[in-house]
Symmetry: C2
Subunit: 557 residues, 2 copies
């Protein structure tokens, strides 16, 4: 490939709307172009990178006896109604009607389509286990697409679905997939990707892992124990509380707390600590706007995903109106409107002598004891709704010293259980003629996001540093002064010979300055560069260097 | 691959809803499954076939210096508004709104997305010519999907777009693409595909060719001259008329023709021929329901596409209501409502002494002469609106004997001109600093439709006969009585050795009857079959046969 024929523009200035480096470099380097919010077209270099990633994934899936299939992008709503997800998923699921007003969706994941494809096939136990996968376009109508290919609305994804007759068989296959994923990341040049326990979210099922590239620009927050191997997404990490305040409560007392609304203000005013306060966090259900109040130890914050999962519905931070009956800033567990759902975080368990709101403007209670003062207080259930904090207790080894990191999710695997097979009526007969519901696993990788993550992990100020395995080309020949006969001859020979040897070569023979040529080469990020110049040829050498600067030497022609 | 692990069901009965063989065989053979009207999921064998076709196409496009890119499936309506097609195309273009109520479409073709991608790149003449292509999912909301993969709503397509600075350069590249297409069909196993001149339809531009697999089940009608090499789609073929009735007209006379409504009835009643009648064909514009009447020689039929193209708008066969002012059955050119568009087909040119309706119930005129009797009749323009008829005159060589055939369109190429570049403001500067609009070509192949067409062209009652180049596997080993130790050993060795030699093998070692095994193998259509059986092994041989029955021999183990 001649560089001068490469469609796409390269430029120096960082686009102002790019927050993360991989996004900026992939725009600056002529890799892609935004078509709409979260929707990109890819130029040839990026298409080559994604094709190489797809091939690595394909090989690893085939090695797990996966069978490549293809599901449609546009799916009838009826399929999603069968599983129940048509109503469960919010606006991320793009719904539309076709010319006959038939409701349809754009596939954001293909569990339903997969069960539809294999439901008849999998009617006897002898067919199990099996796995099918596809590499196909998906659409998720994200509210906040960001970071170039990191969070987009349309993307290419490999999604695999396995079917099993026992939980043990699923678990064994799940472990194999986990290992295959590690190989995929290693082969794609990011062996540093780690897996973390995750929340299964809208997918259903219980056990799930996300594969994370740790980076400060990641949008996922991770909880990592440095003492053991515990790693989890903040959304799924259990917050362990060690309450040291175990004293008997004073009498419940109403105190005047004018203009003291935040926990810090109240604690200071009453000469206590925020750990001794019972904080109220208010949410509303999306479906009917009804209120939920979570009471929590004053020094902690709410993890919204945990609350949403506990309630089994979509929620949003409350807007407390005057006619809500809620006394903003002074909310407490007692004498609350009966229509409000009241929940207690595990951090309050065993605590006494608390400060809490009195549901009365400018008043708090002191000496509050849930089991003594709250109606049926001794029967209150406590659940985990709080965010894990830096330095907290590891839920696995119990040692203090949790670290909070950020990461980009570059893949996920789920033990789905029977959520889809049961709702969609997939069954098989065992060897004794008994009927069962198969157990499912699913395994996803976003191809474009992985490409961007590799760029995020491996780049410098001048451009991406693509690993050999996924680089758009392997060797980049820069011919300085192509008008020089000797340069032209050596460069052209090198180009021809490398191509003959099966090497993917991009050849820059433009009549441009070395600085211009090298900055374009840096943006293309090809791992090996060969510079043919009159100066080098005088010494009978060609300069070979690696894009990652690990090598630079002169080699005889 | 072990046959018994192949996901998908095979069965004997032809599904009742399958009209054409390839559809029936691809359902019966476990190739695909319908998800919704015109939307299919593919099982592994079909996915492998389409991947091989995609690879053949990719190689041929790369050989034309094509650069593989990727455009989005979901596109913002604004892009289609730029080109004007958002309003020009009817319900086939699936329109929807995203979560922010932004209007979007599902890409049915990607001219707009392509110009968007290369508009900035192509600003100077030195960048030309260039071609980019993608292999990607497309969606067309067809009113009548049919024939399995022949006419679907969602499909994978290779679409290529070339950009040029002169018509000559486009034409030269267009010819190269034409040759590449012929190679693609030959390599995919259907060298019998022919190209025909076609109407460019909604694509714009003037010169266009369709590649057709001639078959009675095709939905396109083709006009073929057996004397010269003229081939055209009926929609684009010019109808040549040789009027032999050149006599002077009698006087225009109103005659009573009670209950004579059709041309045949009127001709018989008036003791003349339908060639001497001036027939009226009525259409309405889709946009405003206004009427168009085309007058044509009585023995010919209207080609709707020609009329639609002439008018530049969408039309439909008229519904003549009582308040339309039109006298159904007795329509003629004279004294018609001024709001009706009147057009004359070329077949009426030079004719005289015609019978035509009198726009009065139960009355016709005889002796009608357009140039004499119609207002400004000598200035009437005649256009070609008629369907070519079997045995008609070739528009190229002028010899009588046109043949009408049917075909499946398996690809098309268009000289688009500047329709998209001009409307979307793509421009380049030439060597003298002058600004021009680049000229575009586009080149499409539907991958699934090509797979189905190969099946349609090459199958028998028992299944498809896949050409080696696109077959899902190359060799199918049938091991009869795998419990026989020798059979197991020979078959397993063969399987291993062929795989080691890089051959794609499917291995059927199920404990089923030979008849069952062979009928499954027929449905899979793998070109070479190796049968390992106790009987053959007694003679020290394995039976090798070709699926197309061109070979069957016993080969020593």
């Amino acid at each position: 490939m001649k560089f001068e024929r490469l469609v796409g523009d390269r430029f120096k200035e960082r686009p102002t709307d790019c927050v993360i480096d991989s996004h900026a470099l992939m725009i600056r380097g002529g890799y892609m172009r935004q078509v709409a919010n979260g929707i990109f077209s890819m130029y040839m270099p990026l298409r080559r990178i994604t094709q190489k990633i797809e091939q690595i994934i394909r090989e690893e899936m085939d090695a797990l006896d996966g069978q490549e299939v293809l599901f449609p992008v546009a799916l009838p709503a009826t399929l999603w109604q069968e599983s129940g997800r048509y109503d469960q998923i919010n606006d991320e699921l793009l719904r539309f009607t076709d010319r006959n007003d038939t409701p349809m969706v754009l596939g954001m994941t293909h569990e339903e389509a997969c069960v539809h494809l294999v439901r008849e096939y999998g009617q006897t136990y002898t067919k199990y286990p099996f796995m099918v996968y596809q590499i196909q376009t998906k659409f998720r109508d994200e509210a906040r697409s960001r970071g170039g290919l990191i969070r987009v609305r349309e993307f290419t994804m490999k999604d695999a679905y396995s079917f099993h007759t026992s939980q043990e068989d699923l678990e064994q296959y799940y472990d194999q997939c986990h290992a295959a994923y590690e190989r995929i990341y290693a082969r794609s040049g990011v062996p540093e990707v780690v897996s973390v326990a995750s929340d299964s979210g809208m997918m259903g099922g219980k056990i799930a892992h996300e594969f994370m590239l740790l980076t400060p620009v990641g949008e996922d927050v991770l909880v990592i124990c440095e003492k053991c191997d515990y790693r989890a997404n903040m959304e799924a990490a259990e917050n362990i509380v060690e309450n040291q305040l175990v004293r008997k409560s004073d009498q419940l007392t109403l105190v005047h707390t004018p203009n003291q609304k935040t926990i810090e203000e109240v604690a200071t005013f009453l000469n206590t600590t925020s750990e001794s306060c019972c904080k109220a966090i208010v949410y509303q259900r999306k479906a009917d706007n009804t209120y939920i109040i979570v009471f929590m130890r004053g020094d902690l914050d709410l993890q919204e995903t945990k609350l949403s999962k506990h309630l089994g519905c979509e929620i949003y931070p409350a807007i407390i109106t005057e006619d809500s009956g809620l006394c903003a800033g002074y909310l407490g567990p007692m004498e609350l409107d009966k229509n409000v759902t009241v929940l207690f975080d595990a951090s309050l368990k065993g605590l006494s002598d608390l400060v809490c709101g009195a549901n009365k403007n400018e008043y708090h209670y002191t000496g509050f004891d849930i089991s003594r003062d709250f109606a049926n207080g001794s029967e209150v259930e406590y659940h985990d709704f709080a965010k894990v904090v830096e330095g907290g207790i590891c839920p696995k080894c119990g040692v203090k010293g949790i670290a909070i990191s950020r990461g980009i999710e570059v893949g996920n695997i789920f033990q789905l259980g029977t959520k889809y097979t049961e709702s969609m009526g997939m069954q098989y007969t065992d060897s004794e003629g008994k009927i069962h519901t198969p157990i499912m696993g699913c395994y996803g990788i976003g191809v474009g996001r992985l490409a961007a993550s590799v760029c995020e992990a491996h780049h410098d100020d001048y451009g991406p540093i693509w690993p050999m395995s996924i680089a758009p080309w392997q060797v980049h020949i820069c011919a300085l002064k192509i008008n020089d006969e000797q340069v032209a001859e050596v460069a052209n020979n090198l180009y021809r010979n490398l191509q003959k040897a099966g090497v993917e070569v991009i050849f820059d023979d433009r009549a441009v300055s070395p600085g211009f040529m090298f900055s374009d080469a840096d943006l293309l990020g090809v791992p090996v560069r060969a510079v043919v110049s009159p100066k080098n040829l005088k010494d009978g050498v060609v300069e070979i260097s690696k894009r990652d600067k690990s090598l630079s030497e002169k080699v005889a022609v």
